[in-house]
Symmetry: C2
Subunit: 99 residues, 2 copies
């Protein structure tokens, strides 16, 4: 049963929280990994990190609105919220990915 996790609406995205989320090398790497629009399983994105540490970063990215996660079975499928981020902060993601 595919269920959605709570996450901020597009209008509620805050640039200060997004910048904090992006201001860490691990999370920046996550964003770049997802930049092509793929939907990936958590363990495929951060395979070398302990579950608890990874979960901490998922939470920061999710609550700041950078990523979307959807439960499929016992696995979380993760995508970048590119549409929402581009709508609210045009150019930001491009800078992150291309820079």
């Amino acid at each position: 049963m595919a269920e959605e996790l709570r996450l901020p609406a597009r209008e509620a995205l805050r640039i200060d929280e997004v910048l904090i989320a992006l201001g860490h090398p691990v999370r920046l790497r996550v964003v770049r990994t997802l930049a092509d629009g793929r939907e990936m399983a958590c363990r495929d994105i951060l395979p070398d990190m302990t579950k608890s540490s990874a979960s901490h970063h998922w939470k920061v990215l999710r609550e700041s609105g950078v990523i979307h996660q959807r439960r499929e079975g016992r696995c979380l499928r993760t995508t970048l919220r590119r549409d929402d981020l581009d709508a609210r902060f045009p150019g930001l993601l491009d800078a992150v990915v291309n820079g």
Copy 2:
């Protein structure tokens, strides 16, 4: 004698360092204060902070390439490096200022 402080060239700007610089409320406030293009004295931007703490933030902002500082007498005049940031990361500053 107006002398320039060392700072990274436009081509050397790194998005990861810029994001770290912007991912702190004090430094984000500095950027927003300078967003209109003004050149301001340090003590006018962060009047309530001790000199040593403020100097720490100047260093982070300067070395990441977010701000430019120019010595004029015994005072530092600070400006946002809008041209360089817009050239390398189009849309980033607008998101920071308008978001």
